[in-house]
Symmetry: C2
Subunit: 221 residues, 2 copies
DNA sequence: CGCGTCATTGATGTGCATCAAGTGGTGTGG
DNA sequence: CCACACCACTTGATGCACATCAATGACGCG
């Protein structure tokens, strides 16, 4: 949260963020079709969001961790258009959106903050579109790992070690690959000495190699 | 724009959208890296937005037409992260973002409107992710055509006839396909009697068939 | 301990990319 | 007004990356 607020403003923001909700692993915070009332700031735990087409296919649209906000999809039609599923026991701040709007009319930095959160999500999705539209399997998985570990590092975790909270199938859905391809690509990285993988525990041995894979022969012609 | 505004409010909004800018076909409205100052509402013409990875690949992230807003990507870092290119001579409203923020603090419906525009973009991108992550070439192109014609219809154009403003290559970039695949898929639709194609002129002969392709055998089990 | 879930690995198939040649429309300059 | 060049597009032949199908292995939980 941004700085430079009066204590009065802080109190009012605290109030908006006061209510908490626990979400058990495997259960949904909200579902496609449900009425939209609030945004949710993740305090602890790990979520995936996914959309479904009518014929049953579904697509993971993102993985979210502590400090990130979910529910933005619901604003436009007053109903959610995706599911948010906890991948481990989690706790969120429930932030009623009408209260956010009210308060952000009075507190400039909050208004700015809300706008940035939404813009950041749009930019993130641009990156995913680039990944899905133009990268090969190895590049996708390398980009995925680098992104995860970077976000974890920003939260004080290791730069080189991580625990995947999602299955191979969920990774595959996010990356537009089948789970077997995800598994094979992990195995290839292991053969190449780039990572160690033991189940969902991943240790990155060579970050530069991963970067090279994402950005193959970035030629300076 | 939403209704129910006082004439004073309307005047102030008019002022924010007062400045116009013409953009010649093939030129950019803004570019990746440029400072972000304004959102742009398209008055006439047709745009594409595209992002690029460092190694030169690029990905069309969307096609925008009259009434749609571009530039949202710039809010988060005060710099644009994609290019907006006019695919035909165009005119836009330049809407300085600090003015939008100022005014939307005072005019509720404007605030709500801005939030919905951003949320709509997020939801749209979810749909593109589903398309890129899980659909086959025919499904992608069918979804693309249906989406385009639906948006054109909402603007008073035909439900069944459209002129593509973009090349096969740009369509391919948007859909995660090569231009040859786009061309072949068009040819297949023509063989099947679903559309007529003459260059960039497309006439949809069987909308239901296109829907069936997008949503193959949606079984009601 | 036994069962269900998740993951790995191999064999085979296929959808789309790639490479390549040719067509047609458009615009330009002689 | 025509000849030429250029670009977008089409179509065919071939190859490859990833999907699919199938079998087996490793955890974790009741």
């Amino acid at each position: 949260m941004p700085m430079g607020l009066s204590s009065d403003e802080l109190d009012r923001i605290d109030e908006v963020v006061a209510t908490r909700r626990k979400v058990k692993r495997g259960t949904t915070l909200f579902r496609n079709g449900e009425k939209f009332t609030s945004l949710y700031a993740i305090r602890t735990g790990f979520f995936k969001t996914c959309v479904a087409s009518e014929d049953g296919r579904d697509q993971v649209t993102g993985f979210q961790m502590a400090g990130e906000v979910i529910g933005l999809d619901g604003i436009v039609n007053d109903h959610h258009t995706c599911d948010a599923v906890a991948l481990e026991d989690a706790e969120v701040c429930v932030m009623p959106f009408d209260r956010i709007e009210e308060l952000s009319r009075e507190v400039n930095v909050l208004q700015r903050h809300v706008h940035k959160i939404m813009s950041r999500e749009i930019v993130r999705e641009h990156g995913v579109m680039l990944l899905l539209g133009s990268m090969r399997a190895e590049e996708r998985l390398a980009a995925f790992l680098l992104n995860l570990v970077q976000r974890l590092h920003a939260r004080g975790f290791s730069q080189s070690e991580l625990v995947l909270r999602m299955t191979r199938e969920e990774i595959g859905s996010y990356l537009g690959l089948k789970l077997e391809t995800v598994s094979r690509t992990f195995s290839k990285f292991v053969e190449d000495g780039i990572v160690e993988v033991k189940q969902r525990h991943v240790r990155i041995l060579n970050t530069d190699a991963l970067r090279d894979i994402v950005n193959p022969k970035a030629c300076t012609e």
